[in-house]
Symmetry: C2
Subunit: 318 residues, 2 copies
């Protein structure tokens, strides 16, 4: 039977998203089930297998028509062996996911980190479609990073590579969740932007930020500083200038190491599009090593949204 | 005729070193000629070709017995096209070296950056012999870096990748030669150590550092702070603790991105061996992402010395 479909799974701390794609990475069908952490790895993988069978059945596609299954997992992943070494939000340590899911299917099963999968997804079907060398960073609770080189996910030598969110911008700087001080993540996650917005609003009671949240700083989200800046608020403008500058520094670091064809950012903050990226691109162009002698990609927003990880997971069986 | 030899060329700002190696990367013969910058690319490459022919002739080896020629060049290199994009100390811009040398030989000619070649050399025949994933940093006038992944030099997507020396440790920190402030190089080159040693000696006239150079701070070299610390000088100890800490931070950054099997350092400062590396290794073990859940290589000193680049260049034709 001709193998013309691929299955991609985006495993998250709260939900499992399964999709079936064709050769052009069009999503033919998808299905989501909750991640019930209490079930443990075996139970979660059984739910995952059920979701896959559900989608295949709905589409009338046989297992034998599929090339394989790919999984994007949070945490530290040993892709060579299909093992999740550690995933805090799933409470997993050394779980052989490829083997566990393999008990349900007679298909090749591949595993990678979720940020890596999202990057591969954008490279095969999204904002970097057709490009071979792509770096993507996700600006969310943390700063995730994925790297595609020569069309394949760059896994480094051992599990725990491509953790660019935990490289330094400022030695002895802001405390990071990882234990280190001054990481990229501690300056450029949405969490960091919210922290800095709150701090600035506290220091400047006259700031529009306070007005926008009716004085309740717990209501500050990643959009508030942009909204305040739009109203001309100097405090918010300074918070954003600072954020954009650090984002630029972190991106320059990655370009100086990887020189990709395409550099993408994703996460809710990126809804600000050019308001966020114009100053960042200006900084990046000025600060990459060897200036205009080297190729400097324009920083762009990823386009696949929540489907990026699933599509990229499917592409693991390329 | 059986092809059992490889030719490696280490091109530097002052000299060209040519070597012929066998399959086990034993150096069978070598020859060096000066780099006469005024001759321009064509002239320098003619000298290089002459040096290669000289070694082959001395060894009684025919061109047809060789697999190919590899060149390690300073500066920004486009390895795909065999072009030196920019090399300040040679006064070169966009010189197609592979093509120029190809006019002298009927052999495949490959080109990479000198730090990359040194890393590959250590991976095939030196401190990381037999290992597939190796990062090496050179602590000299600047901080160079080379990365070997799956046994091959990691070139990134475009020329100008793997410039880890120009990623940040401290935003707005020490001025770097590249224009940026706070680069790894601005804290961890031998030049940076000498700068910090001089500064500390000026601030502390009582320091042993001043005694060791008879009050002439222009005589401070990379060994002086180690010698002063050996004599119990607290000022020198603090300079070194600071240096070692930043070196640790920079190495952690690279491990968190590449997770190599082996992490090597080279350059004159590394003659200090464990005096330098014990505190660095302690720091690195403590600070890599995910702590002892992840594989953390021990930082070791490279062993091939000045031959690393030449051997690695030969290995480009692997």
């Amino acid at each position: 039977m001709e193998k013309k479909y691929k299955i991609g799974i985006d495993l998250g701390g709260t939900g499992i998203k399964v999709g079936v794609v064709d050769r052009e990475y069009n999503i033919l069908g998808k299905h989501a089930v909750p991640t019930v952490v209490e079930k443990g790895a075996k139970g979660i993988i059984a739910d995952m297998a059920g979701a896959v069978k559900h989608v295949l059945s709905e589409l009338g596609i046989q297992e034998e028509e599929c090339v394989g299954i790919g999984i994007g997992s949070p945490g530290m992943v040993d892709s060579t062996n299909g093992v999740v070494v550690f995933a805090g939000n799933l409470d997993w340590e050394h779980e052989n996911i490829a083997k566990l899911l393999g008990e349900h299917f007679d298909l090749p099963i591949k595993l990678s980190n979720d940020a890596n999968c999202a990057t591969l997804g954008e490279a095969v079907a999204g904002a970097a479609k057709g490009l071979k060398n792509v770096v993507l960073i996700t600006l969310g609770t943390g700063v995730g990073s994925g790297i595609v080189i020569n069309g394949k996910i760059f896994e480094g030598g051992h599990a725990g590579a491509t953790e660019a969110g935990h490289t330094l911008l400022v030695a002895d700087g802001e405390q990071c969740t990882c234990g280190r001080k001054g990481c990229f993540e501690a300056y450029c996650s949405a969490t960091a932007l919210i922290r800095d917005t709150k701090r600035a609003a506290k220091l400047h009671p006259e700031s529009v930020i306070n007005k926008l949240v009716n004085g309740d700083l717990d209501k500050v989200n990643g959009k508030v500083p942009f909204d305040a800046a739009l109203e001309g608020d100097e405090v918010a403008k300074e918070v954003l200038a600072n954020y954009e500058r650090y984002l630029g520094e972190g991106i320059v670091n990655l370009i100086d190491v990887f020189r990709p064809d395409s550099f993408l950012v994703s996460g809710g903050i990126c809804n600000q599009k050019n308001v966020l990226l114009d100053p960042v691109n200006e900084f990046v162009k000025k600060n990459c090593f060897a200036g205009d002698r080297g190729f400097v990609p324009e920083v762009k927003v990823a386009t696949l949204g929540n489907d990026a990880g699933m599509i990229g997971a499917a592409a693991l069986n390329d």
